[in-house]
Symmetry: C2
Subunit: 276 residues, 2 copies
Amino acid sequence: MEKSLTSLQNPRVKGFAALKDKKQREREQLYLVEGVRAVDTYLSCGDILQTLIYDDEIPLPDVALDLVFAARKKGIEVLPVGTNAIAKIADTEHPQGVIGVARMGDADWRAIVDEGEGDATVAAAPLLLLDGVKDPGNLGALLRSAHAVGCTRIVTLPGTVDVYSPKVVRAAMGSLPSLQIARMTDTFEELGARLNEEGYRVIGTDLDGTSLYEEDLTGKLALFIGSEADGLSFDASDLCERMITIPMPGKTESLNVAIAASVILYESLRQRLVRK
Amino acid sequence: MEKSLTSLQNPRVKGFAALKDKKQREREQLYLVEGVRAVDTYLSCGDILQTLIYDDEIPLPDVALDLVFAARKKGIEVLPVGTNAIAKIADTEHPQGVIGVARMGDADWRAIVDEGEGDATVAAAPLLLLDGVKDPGNLGALLRSAHAVGCTRIVTLPGTVDVYSPKVVRAAMGSLPSLQIARMTDTFEELGARLNEEGYRVIGTDLDGTSLYEEDLTGKLALFIGSEADGLSFDASDLCERMITIPMPGKTESLNVAIAASVILYESLRQRLVRK
């Protein structure tokens, strides 16, 4: 039986707790996954989990115990800790007694862009370019939708909240391991050149574009999604060949950004289903 | 010039702060609206605002000052308070210096259901029945989408979070005054009988229904949306004539409930636009 870590000064406990901080995540190339359902999903996704931390001072519910057994069986490090230590590591108030420590799976943005070639299935779902989505809950919900709709290639641009922050991971509900996500730090010029070279039709959203329902959203498509407050940056708009608008007969100013992106991704799916 | 209320013990300050509590809201038939943009929207919606509270101990930004002037011009009570008092009343950490106190505008669910008759525009957008949406952020985002897509008739069923709670109001981004919302407390039998009588096609969502894209979502439609964790209640499912499913080629378990509802409402809009 593993020995339980109860001291808040234990270096490993401190190390895991520090993963709430972006710098520490980058240094360790690790991030935290909280909650039974999300950890369950991660366990079934290859060897993405490095460690499973669980609270051995409370009676764990069966679903959490199952995860501990499954992790041991897969040879993943299982680490019993005290309730105080779990509370220190966790970002949520009620982490349900288990926390996963996952390896970051950063993809290279050029590889993601290039993958539009060849594989028809991949080419069919848009390449998603996130230009400054700020709210972690929005980004997480957006990633969850992207996963659901089968849009697995995602590039986040500078100004977008970090995909590995605890709140994003939580709202993404276990979607991260199924997605290829690149956090681009190069210039928009480089991105634009590559998209052009690879023959993408680049589409953005604004308030006076073509109606979503009048635009062809099939084929080799790159879709820009802007920030909650300001929409697309000038640099991103500049790369867009076409602008589309989600009709709002209710005369509101805007939709939640995760909802707007989901409505567009689903319309693209619908068009692809109809043309099959 | 109004005299500023700075004491946290002032009965009016205490009374407004108590509106964060549902019981107090019901008693006073008032609720709080925080933030410059939301208050601005409320100001342009008839006489829904009873009072505008503002912080007179800080230099207000111009947008907030404009609201104070506009409220005075409309004859709405304007109440300067201290920064501490604003902080006590507000639910958010940064209320931007202004808080509106709005009159609840509960609609009668029978009137909302009956309204499907006669007016073709109203009949065209589905009647939305919310069956146990629990998260305030989700309900708010859903109401914002409903407003955007022109779906203005909404009935919340028992188990749904209160639409006037501060987090719902905030996420709804000023949509509430443009919607007719009824909080039903009668039985599902009564609701079912009325829907039937009025000739609605009642549609619910589950995991093995007809694809969203193969269902006719035009005409006189009532759409049930279930809870985040459990979907539709047994009682609600029982009233549904048809079940639809949002395709998830990504093999996820589910979408965020506000996103799922928005995707369905937008597909219904698309079908109505195409058939016009």
